[in-house]
């Protein structure tokens, strides 16, 4: 079963449910790939930031609790 879109025509009040066009399906697939990559990039950036923060805390001789207290 093909994916559909629901459209409310606010002039007429009519609600229609139609199948996505080939172009819309292709765009949707491209969007999904882009979303997954963006999410992965964000998670990698967050992990690198956490790693850098931990390294600084270690250099300063701070525990996680002490670091959290300082940053609160």
């Amino acid at each position: 079963m093909a994916d559909t879109k629901i459209i409310v025509n606010c002039e007429t009040g009519e609600v229609s449910e139609v199948e996505l066009t080939a172009e819309e399906v292709a765009q949707r697939e491209a969007d999904a790939v882009a979303y997954a990559k963006a999410k992965a990039d964000e998670e990698q950036a967050a992990a690198e930031k956490a790693e850098a923060k931990a390294a600084i805390a270690e250099r300063l001789g701070l525990t996680d609790a002490e670091l959290a207290l300082l940053l609160a």
């Binding site: 969007d31 999904a32 998670e43």
Partner: protein, 171 residues
């Protein structure tokens, strides 16, 4: 008393097979502001949440936003799109729980750039949930005549998801 808060068109009720997008088209320019109230859930299965994205007049460009996200997660903010309106429940969350999202678009028919804001809650019976406040801008001078919602992961909105559009009229 003036009728200042009017439902426009019909409420969308997603059926058994789900829906890839939800759109309101041919929106009349007769109101001052627009408000959309959504109760949605995604059928995404590969992660702990999906997100809700918006587009105006079919455009997915010229959007910017800033979001404040809270929840019992270590990452405070993580957004993959400038069209982000909030994190929403998916298949990995508590069954039958839907996310509540309110989108407000002031002066939607003006010839200025369009600002918008959202307040969303992704509830879940665990320590994994998100609450989002978003302030966005669509840098386009066209009057908004259509609004479309999709999920960030390009998944489907599940059955019983709903969306209603309201026109707010300055009294």
């Amino acid at each position: 008393m003036a009728n200042t808060y009017v439902k426009i068109g019909s409420t969308v009720n997603v059926g058994l097979l789900g829906a890839a997008t939800i759109s309101f088209s041919s929106i009349p320019a007769t109101y001052t502001d627009l408000k959309v109230v959504l109760s949605v859930r995604s059928d995404r299965i590969s992660a702990d949440q999906d997100s809700l994205l918006v587009s105006f007049n079919g455009s997915t460009s010229n959007f910017t936003n800033k979001s404040l996200e809270g929840g019992t997660v270590t990452t405070v903010s993580s957004f993959s799109s400038a069209r982000f309106l909030g994190s929403i429940n998916d298949t990995n969350n508590t069954a039958s729980v839907f996310s509540s999202v309110e989108l407000y678009v002031p002066n939607y028919a003006s010839s200025s750039f369009k600002s918008f804001s959202t307040d969303s809650a992704m509830e879940n019976n665990s320590n994994f949930y998100y609450l989002d406040l978003t302030a966005g801008l669509w840098s386009d001078t066209s009057a908004i005549t259509s609004i479309t919602f999709t999920t960030g992961a390009s998944r489907n909105f599940v059955q019983y998801s709903t969306a209603s559009l309201y026109g707010i009229l300055k009294n």
